[in-house]
Amino acid sequence: MTFSPQLEARFAKLLTSYPPGRQRSAMIPMLLYAQDELGRIPDELVAEVARRVGVTPLQVDEVLSYYSMLHRKALGKYHVQICTNISCLLRDGDKLWEHACKKLGIGHKEVTADGQFSLEEVECIGACSWAPAVQVNYDFHHFVTPEKLDGLLDSLRKKQ
């Protein structure tokens, strides 16, 4: 597989970050960074990462299925993650979640027909003091109200 020069540089750094013979350590970060570029983790990426870190594709598959951020299926261009864990719940994170489902017309781990948005009800994302919190891809949004979420989604839709 060929990747962008930036991703290849990252891979090269990762593969030399661990003690000799411990290249397997690079596997999880490699999958995550590659997923950012490809939008998902296809079979050929599993095989490629396996080859580069010196394990079997099955060993990669076994590991990636454990981690909630690693996806075999494509997400939307904007992956909207809404936290409803306890600190967000106490500040109406659950209502925000229901609002987002209605607004986008999709549910948990679903993607809109145009592929622009996907939605996920996530566990604590570490923004508890600024709840309720939302992450769109890797960007944090704090003190989110249904109105603020509408504005955010509308502005992302325009950016397409």
Binding site: I28, V63, L64, E121, C128, S129
Partner: protein, 437 residues
């Protein structure tokens, strides 16, 4: 940047550079006492460094509260194996968002803490395991590390001391369990985040089966000040057996939620009323969680006279934990709170131990049934029984973390479960609906 206004009641040690322009840069760090602790430590013997950390009464800030100096002393320094320093930046305990601000605003403080730990245990390599969701912090950290290398604060012969140290960031990919130290080490090795049986402890066989110091971000961040100003000065900020300050995250039904650095032993009442601006909408407090959702829940009456430190919380059969304070007002449905907390643990249980995997799943189902008004009186006891059967019967503390808040909620708020019996709608919320992950 800072996401909330600081409070005048804070004692700023770890957060002293927060708010200064370019606080994450090396120049700012150096201009405000940066790397002085390292300079001092580089002239000390390893045992003297560990003695200074012991004198500070610093205890692990990730949640377990284990004395840091003692943990470091367990590392066999004379072992022929390489030793590793691993930073736990997998912050994911519900209610906790302090490591985020520490890394974002002052990454060099963390680097300095790691370097001092390296000197103390003769380690020359470190890894900062950062949860995948904190991608921007990996970038902040990588930038600070590159700056440190470029200016001789990492790499070979650091500042002419003859000490070599290499530091790397490592991204997680979404798993609460990887915040548990042995699961984190498995994940660092490119495996599923499943806990290891102990002993051996990480101090003896940690990363890559080598001796390892593994601490939380905040713990390492406290170390530069301890070396710079002395362990006794840090200890004096707190109370006996609980030295220094704690990054405290106020969350929930509070007027001024935020992350505040408070002296250990800070009165809970003053923290809620003055630092946090009181309970939102003039309501009364019903329940209080001192340090993340894994801690037993306390009632408003129980926290009367309590202080934020390890002993005061232990006396009340709870824990200081991670410093993630969760405040719930009088309108909170405790059944719903218990359910949401249990849904989290059921989702995050790694599945390795049966009591945790099955226990959290069944508790989630029973609590869901209860909150939907389909519970029976017998279920109330069943929730307590299942929880107690998980306690102490799992490889790692996740099972305990799920059981402890649940047991406390059932014991202390039993009447609220009874109020949900016989198909009655939730008395605190009508038409409540919870989506199941």
């Amino acid at each position: 940047m800072l996401y909330n206004e600081p409070s005048p009641l804070e004692t700023k040690v770890l957060s002293r550079r927060f708010g200064i322009p370019n606080s994450a840069s090396l120049n700012t760090y150096l201009a405000f006492d940066g790397y002085q602790g390292f300079q001092k430590a580089a002239r000390m013997k390893p045992d003297e460094i560990i003695a200074e950390v012991k004198a500070s009464n610093l205890r692990g800030r990730g949640g377990a509260g284990f004395p840091t100096g003692m943990k470091w002393s367990f590392v066999p320094r004379t072992s022929p194996k390489p030793k590793y320093i691993v930073v736990n930046a997998d912050e994911s305990e519900p209610g906790t968002c302090k490591d985020r601000v520490l890394i974002e605003n002052d990454p060099h403080q963390l680097i300095e803490g790691v370097l001092i730990a390296g000197l103390a245990v003769d380690s020359h390599t470190g890894y900062i395991y950062i949860r995948g969701e904190y991608r921007y912090l990996i970038e902040v950290m990588d930038k600070a590390i590159a700056e440190a290398y470029a200016n001789g604060w990492l790499g070979k012969n650091i500042q002419g001391t003859g000490f070599d140290f290499d530091l790397y960031t490592h991204s997680g990919a979404g798993a609460y369990e990887c915040g548990e130290e042995s699961a984190l080490l498995e994940s660092l090795e490119g495996k599923r985040g499943i806990p290891r049986i102990r002993p051996p402890f990480p101090a003896v066989a940690g990363a890559f089966q080598c001796p390892t110091v593994l601490n939380n971000v905040e713990t390492f961040c406290a170390v530069p000040a301890i070396l710079r100003d002395g362990g006794a000065a840090f200890a004096a900020l707190g109370i006996p057996k609980s030295g220094g300050t704690k990054m405290t995250c106020l969350t929930g039904h509070i007027n001024k939620p935020g992350v505040y650095e408070l002296k250990l032993g800070f009165p809970v009442k003053q923290m809620i009323e003055e630092v946090g601006g009181g309970i939102r909408n003039g309501k009364k407090m019903k329940a209080f969680i001192p340090g993340g959702s894994s801690c037993p829940v306390l009632t408003a009456a129980e926290v009367e006279g309590a202080t934020m430190d390890y002993d005061s919380m232990a006396q009340r059969k709870s824990m200081l934990g991670s410093g993630g304070v969760i405040v719930m007002d009088e309108d909170t449905c405790m059944v719903k709170a218990a359910l949401r907390i249990m849904r989290f643990y059921a989702h995050e249980s790694c599945g390795w131990c049966i009591p945790c995997r099955e226990g959290t799943t069944w508790l989630k189902k029973i609590l869901q049934r209860f909150h939907d008004g389909q519970g029976t009186r017998n279920d109330i006891n069943l929730i307590g029984d299942i929880s107690k059967n998980m306690l102490g019967r799992t490889f790692c503390p996740l099972g305990d973390a799920a059981a402890m808040p649940t047991i406390s909620i059932v014991e202390k708020f039993r009447h609220e479960f009874e109020d949900h019996l016989n198909g009655k709608p939730c008395p605190y919320e009508h038409a409540s609906h919870m989506v199941t992950v």
